[in-house]
């Protein structure tokens, strides 16, 4: 692939990603669904497990704090399914998939563009969800923030990668 061709393909990638992000910024269809779902799940777990139930033997803190990492990731990944679903719906509504397929050029550009948009939307949602989990489950996230950010970026990218086969 020549430099000019690669530049052209990256322009297509950016066009797809920008289009999806612009639509999401205006419609907020995926984000609202994800935020509502994630908030509801975190609250439900909080009420179901209770804030004062002690953790298992030889553990400090509460049961909720012990299970928080797992609960947080389950919430994020399930909410992510909503984002992926919205990304597909966006193209199905007016026969957009057909139109995307009719543009000449490498179809990998469509895939990478969609991937970038989906990862961005999910990361924004995670930036809101993690502090909410910290407040609801009485977690001190600051010391773990760099590691958490790294894991979040890798997991979200991997998850989105699997959802757009």
């Amino acid at each position: 692939m020549g430099v000019s061709n690669a530049r052209h393909e990256w322009r297509r990638v950016w066009a797809v990603a920008r289009k999806d992000l612009l639509i999401e910024r205006r419609a907020k269809a995926a984000f609202n669904a994800m935020a509502f779902f994630a908030g509801l799940v975190l609250l439900t777990f909080g009420f179901a497990l209770g804030p004062d139930v002690p953790a298992g033997e030889s553990r400090q803190g509460t049961l909720l704090q012990e299970l928080a990492p797992g609960l947080l990731w389950v919430t994020i990944l399930f909410a992510g399914v909503l984002a992926v679903d919205r990304s597909f719906q966006l193209e199905l509504e007016r026969g957009g998939f057909d139109a995307l397929r009719l543009y000449p050029g490498d179809r990998k550009a469509l895939y990478v563009g969609k991937l970038i948009a989906n990862v961005t939307i999910m990361l924004v949602m995670e930036i809101l969800i993690c502090p909410l989990a910290g407040v609801l489950y009485s977690l001190d996230l600051w010391p773990r923030l760099p590691g958490l950010a790294g894991v979040a970026i890798l997991t979200t990218t991997g998850f989105s990668r699997c959802c757009f086969p």
Partner: protein, 238 residues
């Protein structure tokens, strides 16, 4: 059709398409010369849209071979896509984007320069210069159809495929489609116009291909269509 024939804009041999158990096309043979304007007439379900979708590489044929400007659509789809513009019956527009943003996206995907003045000029050709910055969700069906028309011809395709372009258009919109077809013909490009609007099809094209039940029932000059049995049949569905 053993070898590429660059003298033909479209060549199809034994073209058939099946959706599940239903055959949309049942063995179509046709050859369209560059610069021809062809009216594709037929009732609902006759295979018009399927034929256009196959020529645009949106759908693969079940049987048969198709070449567009000498390139087989099965193996040279990307080359074909660079030279074909399709206005489908479901305009692929994004409601939350403005008219200008929709065109800018299409331009970027075609690898065209995304220049604001050029895109606004494209909108002006379909009578939408004043709503360039309005979101498509606020558009009427006719305005969306006009925008789709601008999008389908944005890359100046050599083969223009129009599927029911007169749908939902007002008198001014009908005139714009006619003007667009005239420009396409003046530029020596090829156009295939699938429509129920028989009078428009006959007025704008120099050849008619009539389809019924996935088969060609008439293929000839516009002037001979009126005297053909296919015209009697058209009287029933038009």
């Amino acid at each position: 059709m053993s070898s590429s024939s660059p003298s033909a804009a479209v060549e199809a041999a034994g073209l058939a398409k099946r959706y599940g158990r239903a055959w949309a096309l049942r063995g179509i043979d046709l050859s369209i010369r560059p610069g021809e304007a062809v009216a594709l007439l037929g009732p609902n379900g006759s295979g018009k849209s399927t034929l256009l979708r196959i020529l645009a590489t949106a759908t693969r044929p079940t049987h048969g071979e198709v070449r567009v400007f000498g390139f087989p659509i099965r193996t040279d789809g990307d080359t074909v896509r660079r030279r074909v513009g399709l206005l489908s019956d479901r305009p692929p527009l994004y409601d939350e984007l403005t008219a200008l943003e929709n065109l800018a996206f299409a331009a970027a995907m075609y690898g065209l320069p995304v220049r604001d003045d050029g895109l606004r000029a494209a909108l002006a050709t379909v009578g939408l210069p004043r709503v360039a910055d309005a979101r498509v969700r606020t558009f009427s069906q006719g305005m969306a159809q006009r925008l789709a028309l601008a999008r389908a011809t944005l890359q100046s395709p050599d083969l223009v495929l129009l599927d029911e372009p007169y749908n939902a258009l007002d008198v001014e919109g009908l005139r714009l489609v006619d003007q667009l077809l005239a420009r396409v013909r003046a530029a020596g490009k090829t156009a295939i116009l699938a429509t129920h609007h028989i009078a428009k099809g006959l007025a704008q094209c120099d050849r008619v291909i009539a389809l019924s039940g996935g088969r060609v029932t008439f293929d000839g000059p516009t002037a001979r269509f009126a005297a053909s049995p296919a015209a009697d049949e058209a009287g029933a569905w038009a």
